[in-house]
């Protein structure tokens, strides 16, 4: 059975110039222990689907789906309390801007502890031990002194490591990483991706990697979903997608990569897809 099943998911926003459909009937599923990459440019609805899943969209958004199942549980009918219990423990998410996602007013130890306090019934000492263990797992040197550090005292890469530690604190079954390395340097990006992949292999959690970077996709994913303007364009195993893309938009995306440049100028999406 798949861990996450989405069928015909639609998200609409009421705007002053009429209804804007951010997601138009998207269906896919994620198996336990799988790494799924969702690729698309800004406005393609890749983050909106995840936010809908976690119930984080603003009230102006209208979400409808034929099926929205996590681990056999219907996410559509959950009340807020049940949802809060599920999110953070079984589904966790990490965001693009690590420094902005941490609370600047509290130290790292407090914020990590908070996740454990909400979702587990560990005692105070046990929570502290778990915090140290988590920081150690995500490769932060000298975790003991780091517990007292504030986000502004750490680099972007280290903040992202703390975010990952918070996300995996309760051993989630599904981790959603929304552009986890976009704000980081390439050398740091590599470290963070390696960390994520190692954690994924150790814990066998499913990982959804939202990104616009084809290089990141090539290095991490088992299966890839390509979205464009709120619609699902193509779904394929990673090797098939890079070797023989079926959809014109996917072809456009791959040939727009500067490293695949053959001629004098780069082909653009307009050469492949009629607007």
């Amino acid at each position: 059975m798949s861990l996450l099943e989405i069928e015909n998911l639609r998200v609409e926003f009421d705007t002053s110039s009429g209804v804007f459909r951010a997601l138009d009937g998207v269906s896919y599923s994620v198996d336990p222990g799988e790494v799924l990459a969702i690729v698309g440019e800004s406005g393609s609805g890749k983050s909106v689907a995840m936010l809908a899943l976690m119930g984080l969209l603003p009230k102006t958004a209208k979400v409808s789906a034929d099926k929205l199942l996590f681990n056999g549980q219907d996410l559509k009918t959950l009340n807020p309390k049940q949802r809060r219990k599920l999110i953070g423990s079984e589904i966790a998410m990490i965001f693009q801007e690590p420094i902005a996602s941490l609370n600047p007013c509290f130290n790292v130890g407090f914020q990590l502890n908070e996740a454990l306090k909400t979702h587990t019934d560990l005692g105070k000492a046990a929570r502290r031990d778990r915090c140290l263990e988590l920081l150690n797992d995500v490769g932060i040197p000298d975790p003991k002194s780091r517990l007292k550090s504030y986000p502004h005292q750490m680099s972007g890469g280290q903040c992202q490591r703390v975010m990952i530690a918070m996300a995996i604190a309760c051993s989630p079954k599904l981790l959603i990483a929304d552009e986890p390395t976009t704000a980081l340097d390439v050398t740091i990006q590599r470290q963070i991706l390696e960390l994520l992949m190692n954690l994924q292999q150790q814990t066998k959690m499913a990982l959804i990697m939202i990104t616009h970077d084809m290089g990141v996709v090539a290095q991490t994913a088992d299966r890839v979903i390509v979205q464009y303007k709120g619609k699902l364009m193509e779904e394929a195993p990673v090797l098939d997608l890079f070797e023989s893309p079926k959809n014109p938009y996917t072809k456009a995306l791959l040939s727009a990569l500067p490293e695949n440049a053959t001629g004098d100028r780069l082909p653009t999406v307009a050469d492949f897809v009629q607007a």
């Binding site: 440019e41 090539a218 500067p258």
Partner: protein, 272 residues
């Protein structure tokens, strides 16, 4: 050999950080003696991580900040803005395009006015001439005269970057400094902007200093690559040489860390 458009000799830049109530003040050496030259119609790419001094260098090259020491020559003319005031003629020689097209345009200024402002400040052209030049420039960067009266919020990220490029070109500069011009853009838009830059370079014989951390973009656009690490140049060679055979340890780390999107590397990963 022709004279280089831009020549930097032993450029340094120090920032003095004042200590707090009890702290000691200290000096940060952001640039520790940078040497290079760029010839007409060529593109020099500057690569490095955040904090290595790329943008400090960009500010010095575009005559925004003075260098602490060293000699900066544009078209053979030595320039030190700490000593002499910047003339409109000098302003016309170097222009810059910034990374974030959302932050670099005034939201209350119409696009036409954005484009005319450099002319208004640095030339004696009449309103009619300025309007005509702005219209022409809009067409040149792939927009249209109908965009003249619109505001920045009505444009997408890629279009705004076109406007920023247009503004930089209004004074027909010799040298254009591009500070991460495509890193805030989507892949397909990035391709369009890179094409535009290549077209403009061919048409106007522009010289580019292209600052980036994305090696795949650098490989596509650069003639020469300069790798910086903690305020120093660790490697400076032609693009083909540096990509074929990176010498310095840091360059090698940088290249190894760049994610590769080709079929062979996916196969290799899946087989492990």
């Amino acid at each position: 050999m022709t004279q280089p458009v831009l020549k930097a000799e032993n450029i340094t830049r120090d920032y003095h950080v004042k200590g707090g109530l009890w702290g000691k003040s200290k000096t940060v050496n952001a640039l520790k003696g940078i040497n290079f030259e760029v010839h007409e119609g060529k593109t020099l790419a500057i690569v490095g991580e955040s904090g290595c001094g790329k943008s400090t260098l960009a500010r010095i090259l575009t005559l925004i900040d003075p260098a602490t020491s060293g000699d900066l020559k544009i078209d053979g003319q030595s320039i030190n803005i700490a000593k002499t005031k910047l003339t409109p003629e000098l302003r016309q020689k170097v222009q810059i395009v910034f990374q974030n097209p959302y932050g670099s345009l005034n939201p209350r200024q119409k696009i036409g006015k954005v484009l005319e402002e450099p002319l208004l400040l640095n030339t004696k052209k009449t309103a009619g001439e300025r309007k005509k030049l702005a219209d022409e420039m809009l067409v040149k960067v792939g927009l249209g005269p109908e965009h003249y009266h619109r505001y920045p919020h009505m444009f997408s990220g890629g279009q705004r970057q076109r406007i920023a490029i247009a503004r930089a070109l209004m004074l027909t500069p010799r040298l254009l400094v591009l500070d991460e011009p495509v890193s805030a853009l989507d892949l397909s838009v990035q391709a369009q902007i890179l094409n535009l830059l290549a077209d403009l370079q061919e048409e106007l014989n522009l010289t580019y200093v292209f600052i980036s951390h994305d090696l795949s973009v650098v490989k596509y656009i650069a003639d020469e690559v300069l790798v910086m690490y903690f305020g120093e140049v660790v490697e400076h060679r032609s693009r083909d040489e540096i990509f074929a055979n990176p010498q310095h340890e840091y360059t090698q780390t940088l290249f190894a860390a760049t994610p590769r999107a080709d079929v062979e590397s996916i196969r290799e990963r899946l087989s492990n």
